[in-house]
C-alpha cells in the first residue's frame, strides 16, 4: 500500500483574477525524491509553495502527512510546518542574522528543543561543508555558499518533507554536482520525502525517482522515466528529454 | 568618497552625520549647477517627457494634498481655538487661520506631503533605473541623463508644487471654516469676514514663493538620492528614506530664511 507524504487533490488557484493552477492532481510517494519540471511560469513554484502551506488553494484540497490541511487551524498548521523544510529560489536567508543564527532559526521556533541547538547547527553546517562559519554574516559568503546555508537551514530540523526550489540556479557545474550529491545524502540519511523543482534535467534524471511535469498550471504527467518514455504526450518527452 | 568610520558611539554617529550632511549638500549643489547648465542649453531637454512628468506628478498627488490641506486648515483653527476662547477675540479667528495657512503651515505641510508623495516616488523611480543600469544605458547612447531625466522632473516639481500649494491653501481655508463652525461653534461668516478684512495678499504670495523654492528643493534632493543608489532593493529603500528626510530639513530651513527675508 503506497504511502503519500503529500497529496494535492483537484486544486485550483486564482491569483489576481487569473487561473494559475488548474485542477491539479499531485501525489508524492513517501521516501522518494521527486522532480518537478516545467517551463518558467508554468506553476512549479506555486505548487511548491502550496506544498509548503504558504499558498492556499482557491478550490480543492491539500493533504500533508495523511491529514487534510485546514488553513484556519493555526495550531495544526504549526505542527505540520515543523515537519517541512524549504529552500527558496532566492534563498530568503535572513540578512540581519549570522550564518549560525540562520541555520538555527527553525530550531528556535520549536518550543521544546530536544537537543542543544548549537550542536545541531554545527552538524548541519558540517554536512554542507561550512562548519566554522557560524559567526559570519550572510553577505560575506559567495552565492554558492549562501545556497548551501539555505539548504542547511531547510534540512536542519530533519523535516519529513523537504522542498527545493531551483537548488542549483546560476551555479557552476562543480558546485551543482556537490549540491545534488548533498540532497541525495540528506534523503538517504533521513528517509524523508524530497521535491526538487529545477531546469537541470540531466542531474534530475540521475537523482530522482519520480517525475512530475507541469505545464500551464496543470500536472500533465507523474511517473518514472520509463513510463515517461511510453507517454503519448510530446510535451512530456520534450521536458524530460526522452 | 572614502567610507566614513564605522562607529557606533553616540559622538561618532553625531560626527558622521555632520560629515555626511556636508557631503550631501555639496553633491546637491553640484547637481543643481548641472541642472542650470542643462536648462541654459535649451535644446537638451525633451518637452514630451516634461509634460508627462507634470501630469503624473501633479494629478496623482492632488487628492492627497487636498485632503491633507483641508485637515491642516481645520487643525489650525482648532489650535487657535484655545487662544480665542481665552481672549474672547472671535473676530481674530479668520485672520489667525488665514495668516498661518498662507504664510507658514500651508506651504510647509503641503511641501512635506509633496516630498512624501512625489519626491519619494521620484527617488524610487530613478533609483530603480540606476540599479537596473538604465541610466548607464542612456550614457552609452550619448544621451545626457541630466537633460533627459532630471531637468523635466525638476521643472515639473516646481510648477506642480506651486499649483498644489495655491489650491491646497484654499482648501485649507475651507477646512478651517467648517472646523470653525463645527468644533468652535463660531459662525462661518465671522471667519470669512476676518479673512477678507485682513489684507493677506502679501502672505499668500510669500507662501507661493516658498512653494517654488520647496518644489526646487524637493526636486534636487529627490533626484540626487535617486541617482546615487547602490545595492539593489535595500539601497532603493534607503535612498527614499534619505530623500524624504533631507527634503523635510530643506523645507524647514528654506522656510525660515524666506520668512525672515520677506518680512
Amino acid at each position: 500500500m503506497l504511502q503519500y507524504a503529500a497529496q494535492i487533490l483537484d486544486a485550483s488557484l486564482t491569483l489576481n483574477d487569473s487561473l494559475v493552477l488548474d485542477q491539479v492532481f499531485l501525489r508524492l510517494e513517501s521516501g522518494r525524491i521527486h522532480a518537478l519540471v516545467g517551463a518558467g511560469g508554468s506553476g512549479k513554484t506555486l505548487l511548491l509553495r502550496m506544498l509548503a502551506t504558504l499558498l492556499q488553494p482557491s478550490k480543492g484540497e491539500l493533504h500533508l502527512f495523511k491529514k487534510v490541511i485546514n488553513f484556519r487551524d493555526l495550531k495544526s498548521l504549526r505542527q505540520v510546518r515543523s515537519n517541512i523544510g524549504v529552500q527558496f529560489q532566492n534563498l530568503a536567508l535572513f540578512d540581519f542574522l549570522t550564518v549560525g543564527q540562520n541555520v538555527g532559526f527553525p530550531l528556535e521556533q520549536d518550543s521544546e528543543p530536544t537537543k542543544d541547538i548549537s550542536i545541531q547547527v554545527k552538524t548541519a553546517l558540517d554536512s554542507v561543508g561550512l562548519d566554522g562559519r557560524q559567526e559570519h554574516a550572510i553577505s560575506a559568503l559567495s552565492g554558492g555558499m549562501q545556497r548551501r546555508v539555505a539548504i542547511a537551514r531547510a534540512a536542519v530540523a530533519k523535516p519529513k518533507l523537504l522542498l527545493f526550489d531551483d537548488p542549483s540556479g546560476g551555479l557552476d557545474p562543480v558546485t551543482t554536482s556537490r549540491i545534488f550529491e548533498l540532497i541525495r545524502t540528506i534523503q538517504e540519511e533521513n528517509d524523508n520525502t524530497v521535491v526538487i523543482a529545477s531546469h537541470d534535467i540531466d542531474r534530475l534524471v540521475k537523482l530522482c525517482h519520480i517525475f512530475h511535469v507541469v505545464d500551464h498550471g496543470k500536472v500533465i504527467f507523474s511517473g518514472t522515466l520509463n513510463e515517461a518514455r511510453q507517454s503519448t504526450d510530446d510535451r512530456v518527452k520534450v521536458f524530460l528529454d526522452v | 568618497m572614502s567610507k566614513p568610520l564605522e562607529t557606533d558611539s553616540f559622538l561618532g554617529n553625531f560626527g558622521r552625520t555632520f560629515i555626511t550632511a556636508f557631503q550631501t549638500v555639496g553633491a546637491m549643489t553640484l547637481l543643481q549647477l548641472r541642472i542650470f547648465r542643462s536648462l541654459l542649453a535649451v535644446k537638451n531637454f525633451d518637452y514630451d517627457e516634461s509634460v508627462t512628468q507634470l501630469f503624473k506628478v501633479g494629478v496623482r498627488s492632488l487628492p492627497v494634498v487636498v485632503a491633507t490641506a483641508t485637515f491642516v486648515g481645520a487643525l489650525m483653527v482648532i489650535a487657535s481655538g484655545n487662544f480665542v476662547r481665552a481672549t474672547g477675540a472671535t473676530t481674530l479667528i479668520g485672520w489667525a487661520a488665514g495668516t498661518a495657512v498662507f504664510s507658514e503651515v500651508g506651504p510647509v505641510l503641503i511641501g512635506l506631503m509633496f516630498s512624501g508623495r512625489v519626491g519619494a516616488n521620484n527617488t524610487a523611480e530613478l533609483g530603480t533605473m540606476v540599479v537596473t543600469n538604465q541610466v548607464d544605458a542612456l550614457r552609452v547612447l550619448g544621451i545626457d541623463p541630466i537633460g533627459y531625466l532630471i531637468v523635466p522632473r525638476f521643472i515639473a516639481m516646481i510648477v506642480m508644487l506651486f499649483l498644489l500649494t495655491a489650491i491646497g491653501d484654499l482648501f485649507a481655508l475651507a477646512g478651517g471654516s467648517v472646523a470653525c463652525r463645527a468644533v468652535l461653534g463660531i459662525d462661518m461668516r465671522i471667519y470669512w469676514l476676518g479673512i477678507l478684512d485682513s489684507n493677506l495678499l502679501s502672505e499668500f504670495i510669500m507662501g507661493l514663493v516658498k512653494a517654488i523654492f520647496f518644489g526646487g528643493a524637493v526636486g534636487i534632493v529627490s533626484c540626487h538620492w535617486g541617482l546615487q543608489v547602490t545595492g539593489g532593493a535595500r539601497g532603493v529603500g534607503r535612498a527614499v528614506n534619505d530623500s524624504v528626510v533631507t527634503s523635510a530639513i530643506a523645507i524647514f530651513v528654506v522656510n525660515f530664511f524666506i520668512t525672515v527675508l520677506w518680512t
Partner: protein, 248 residues
C-alpha cells in the same frame, strides 16, 4: 472602492494582531531596546534640526504678527510654549518620525518581503508580526514620547534665542509656563501614544504588501510615508476636536 476598503482594513488587522501579541513581548526585551536605540539614533539630529527651525519660525512669526495687534510681546513666550507642547510638538515630531522611521521600517519589511524572508519565517513557524512588528511598535510609542520632549526642548531653546535676541523679550517673561496647562500635557501624551502606534503599523503594513524587487520596495516606502503623514494629520484633527469639545 474595494481597494480603498482594503487599504483601510489591512492596517487595522495588523494593529489587532500586534496588540494581541503584546503579552509575548515580555521575552523580547533586547529587540525592543535595539529598536528604541535605532529609532533614537536615526532621528535625533533630524528632529533637532527641524524642530529648531520650527521654534525659530514660530516665535519669529508669532512675535512679528503680535506686534501688529498687541501692545507688547509678553504673551508670545507662554503661548508659544503652550502651543509647542500641545500642538506642534506632537504633530511635527510625529510627521518627522513618519518620514524617518516610517520609511525605514517600510524599507526593511519591504525588502524582506520581496526577498521571501517573510515566507521563510512563516514556514519555520516564526510569526513575522511577533518577530518584526511588535518590538518596533512598543519602541516607537516610547520613543515618540521621548522625542516629543526632546523636540519641544529644542524648539523652545531656539525660540527663546530669537525671542530674546531679535525681539528683545525678557528671558523670564518668555520662559513662562503660564500658557501650558496639565491638560495640554495629557492631550499631548495621548497624541504621542496614538501617533507612535500608528506609524510603525502603517509602515510595516506597506512593507508586507511590497511586490517585485527594488521597485516594490520603493513603492512600499513611498506608500508608508504618504499614509503615515496623512493619518497623523487626520488623527491629530480628530483628537484635537474631541479635546476641544470636552474643554481639555
Amino acid at each position: 472602492m474595494k481597494r480603498l476598503w482594503e487599504t483601510i482594513r489591512s492596517p487595522f488587522q495588523l494593529l489587532g494582531r500586534t496588540i494581541a501579541l503584546l503579552p509575548s513581548a515580555r521575552k523580547s526585551h533586547r529587540k525592543i531596546l535595539e529598536s528604541m536605540y535605532s529609532i533614537g539614533n536615526q532621528s535625533l539630529v533630524f528632529i533637532a534640526l527641524t524642530l529648531a527651525f520650527l521654534g525659530l519660525i514660530l516665535v519669529y512669526q508669532g512675535a512679528y504678527q503680535a506686534l501688529k495687534v498687541l501692545p507688547d510681546l509678553t504673551p508670545v513666550g507662554p503661548v508659544f510654549i503652550g502651543t509647542m507642547v500641545r500642538v506642534f510638538g506632537p504633530t511635527i515630531v510625529a510627521l518627522m518620525l513618519a518620514t524617518r522611521v516610517g520609511a525605514g521600517i517600510a524599507a526593511e519589511t519591504g525588502s524582506m518581503t520581496v526577498t521571501d524572508q517573510i515566507e521563510a519565517m512563516k514556514v519555520t513557524n516564526a510569526d513575522p508580526v511577533e518577530y518584526l512588528v511588535v518590538p518596533r511598535f512598543i519602541a516607537s510609542i516610547i520613543m515618540m514620547i521621548v522625542l516629543w520632549v526632546f523636540g519641544v526642548l529644542v524648539a523652545v531653546a531656539a525660540g527663546t534665542l530669537i525671542g530674546t535676541l531679535r525681539f528683545g523679550i525678557q528671558l523670564r517673561t518668555f520662559l513662562s509656563l503660564s500658557g501650558t496647562t496639565m491638560s495640554d500635557v495629557w492631550v499631548a501624551l495621548f497624541k504621542c501614544v496614538i501617533f507612535g502606534a500608528a506609524i510603525p503599523i502603517l509602515a510595516a503594513d506597506s512593507g508586507f504588501k511590497a511586490t517585485g524587487g527594488s521597485e516594490g520596495v520603493g513603492w512600499a516606502t513611498t506608500n508608508a510615508v504618504v499614509h503615515s503623514l496623512f493619518t497623523v494629520i487626520l488623527l491629530d484633527f480628530l483628537i484635537s476636536s474631541i479635546a476641544y469639545r470636552f474643554g481639555w
